[in-house]
């Protein structure tokens, strides 16, 4: 008897669920879905560095914030700018910021890399906080969500939450797909080589600095897009989207979801946002519970939640890390 192709069927059902989501749930739930999507892209971009390059950035919110502030500044100063162009600019802003900052950061590794990336993010935070005439300080910038104009379709109002949902899911899916395909190219493979053994990579002819900078720039680019989408979704950009808290969010999501599997961060983002929404409606102490979950996963399930669905993968991940430690 032929076995049912379980995985393809599951993916088709899941895709159908995503497409029909605005019709299945109330508006408030769709808002949560949009938030999940934006954070999923942010977490995937973080994992390009953490899971694939082997670098742990503690300041990834810097690029998210650059994207968000970029979008907010364009919308408030150039109201005529097409929405997609605005998002393109915030994506490029994240990319450029990541190249400049990354050129310094990726010379370091381990704890020093984490700390210097944190310092740059705090520096960007300080600019957002202090430069009141431009950023409005910690009051933040209120922006009106622009409408989307598309050829043939004309004006699409994003005040309609399901339109906003579809715009977000298309751009996030393209971003995540872009990351996925990027990792399958020779340049993406070089990133994995550097994570695995940077000395070996350089003795095969790879310029380790350039490879790490590429990963950093790609991560900044996707974080910039996520930030731009966040600005448009929230209609307000304040220092909370470029602060230390925002830097820790992808760390939590990726560790909870699982960094060794490409979609682990997406699962982590979904879990984090949905759990936060569900639990914070019951108690104000949801962060304590989230912290507890984080500790349990760090101690007992380093493969993250995704290893529960793909146990073989999670097992392999742990086994290899154990052998790394023995070998050291």
């Amino acid at each position: 008897m032929k076995r049912l192709p379980v995985r393809p069927i599951a993916w088709v059902l899941f895709a159908a669920f995503l497409v029909l989501l605005p019709y299945l749930f109330r508006e408030i739930r769709v808002h949560i879905a949009i938030e999940v999507l934006i954070y999923a892209l942010f977490a995937v971009s973080f994992n390009l560095l953490f899971g694939y390059t082997g670098l742990l950035p503690f300041g990834h919110a810097g690029f998210f914030g650059v994207g968000a502030y970029g979008a907010a500044l364009i919308i408030s100063h150039f109201p005529g700018m097409p929405l997609l162009a605005t998002l393109l600019i915030s994506t490029v802003a994240g990319f450029v910021a990541a190249i400049v900052i990354g050129a310094v950061c990726v010379r370091l590794s381990g704890a020093y890399f984490a700390l210097i990336s944190l310092s740059f993010q705090m520096f960007l935070f300080a600019i957002a906080y202090e430069w009141r005439s431009v950023t409005n300080g910690d009051d933040g910038m209120s922006i009106a969500r622009p409408d989307l104009y598309l050829p043939f379709l004309g004006k699409i109002s994003l005040q309609n939450f399901s339109n906003l949902y579809y715009l977000t899911i298309i751009l996030v899916a393209l971003g995540i797909l872009g990351c996925y395909l990027f990792l399958k190219t020779p340049l993406g493979n070089a990133i994995i080589c550097v994570r695995e053994k940077d000395v070996r990579a350089s003795f095969l002819g790879y310029n380790v600095f350039r490879v790490k900078l590429t990963a950093f720039a790609a991560a900044g680019l996707m974080a910039g897009l996520a930030g731009g989408l966040y600005a448009i979704y929230q209609e307000v950009v304040a220092t909370t989207c470029i602060d230390n808290n925002m830097s820790m969010i992808p760390v939590l999501m990726v560790v909870i979801g699982g960094s060794s599997y490409f979609l682990g961060p997406v699962l982590g983002a979904a879990f984090y946002v949905v759990f936060q929404d569900w639990f914070s409606s019951m108690t104000g102490y949801w962060m304590i519970v989230m912290g507890g979950i984080f500790i349990v996963i760090i101690l007992y399930a380093q493969g993250g939640l995704v290893s529960l669905f793909a146990p073989e993968k999670g097992w392999r991940w742990r086994k290899e890390h154990e052998s790394d430690i023995e070998g050291a």
């Binding site: 190219t185 020779p186 340049l187 493979n189 070089a190 080589c193 053994k197 350089s202 002819g205 790394d324």
Partner: protein, 247 residues
């Protein structure tokens, strides 16, 4: 004969400890050249300086008359010098195939390509399979490197070195940790792979050295004691006293 590699008066200090004190060395095109010496005599340091892992404190290195002293490792590698490591240095979580493919990508200068998928590239795939076949690793191509037996990992290490089709092959103790049967196999393989090519190797096992090398350089605590053919080295009084006699 033409020298492919010339090291001139190399010095290396590690925070005050002088590991190399004026080492000069020539490797001729087409020869198999071995560097031997007791533990701590600076063999691996010499290798690391030539290949760009360390900078020399003093001295120059020429590769085909080009001064490469102080160049970073990836640039030296791209010139055509490929090395292996004494301690296995492969990509542990990648499969054997992915390991070799990563080297082949670099050799074909596709490193910066971010617009086409690796798995779709026929040239890369063919070249990778050729190298796997050459090193008899085809049967374990889908096994992650970390799960290979030690002997196979050694062969993968060699495969990564050879897949760049280097002009100068540098092997750092290629038989370290192998049993005598595996060593014999490795010597045969290295002989095959380096036929007509230039090899510079560091090796502890004297049987391997006298089996493979056309010329031998003896290093003793940072200075060169002697250079010559295996017979000359065997009969060299100074070398016997310093090194061979103790065995």
């Amino acid at each position: 004969m033409k020298a492919i590699l010339k090291a001139h008066n190399l010095f290396k200090d590690f925070s005050g400890v002088q590991v190399l004190a004026g080492v000069s060395l020539e490797v001729f095109e087409g020869e198999r050249h071995a560097v031997i010496g007791p533990n701590g005599s600076g063999k691996t340091t010499l290798f690391n300086i030539i290949t760009g892992l360390y900078r020399p404190t003093h001295g120059q290195i020429y590769f085909y008359d080009q001064d490469i002293s102080g160049w970073p490792a990836h640039r030296i590698t791209r010139l055509g010098i490929s090395r292996s490591f004494q301690i296995i240095n492969v990509f542990p979580k990648m499969t054997v195939y992915e390991n070799v493919r990563s080297a082949v990508v670099s050799k074909l200068n596709r490193r910066s390509n971010c617009l086409s998928l690796l798995s779709r590239d026929k040239t890369i795939a063919e070249e990778t399979l050729r190298v796997l076949d050459l090193l008899s690793l085809t049967d374990v191509r889908d096994v992650p490197a970390v799960e290979l037996s030690y002997g196979r990992q050694r062969r993968l290490e060699l495969a990564l070195t050879m897949s760049r089709a280097p002009l100068l092959i540098m092997l750092d103790e290629p038989t370290a940790g192998l049993n005598s049967e595996e060593t014999r196999g490795a010597v045969r393989l290295i002989r095959e792979l380096t036929e007509g090519k230039t090899l510079l190797m560091v090796e502890h096992d004297m049987e391997v050295v006298f089996n493979l090398a056309d010329r031998i350089t003896v290093l003793g605590y940072g200075v060169i004691l002697a250079t010559g053919t295996p017979d000359e080295i065997k009969n060299n009084e100074g070398v016997r006293k310093a090194y061979l006699g103790r065995k």
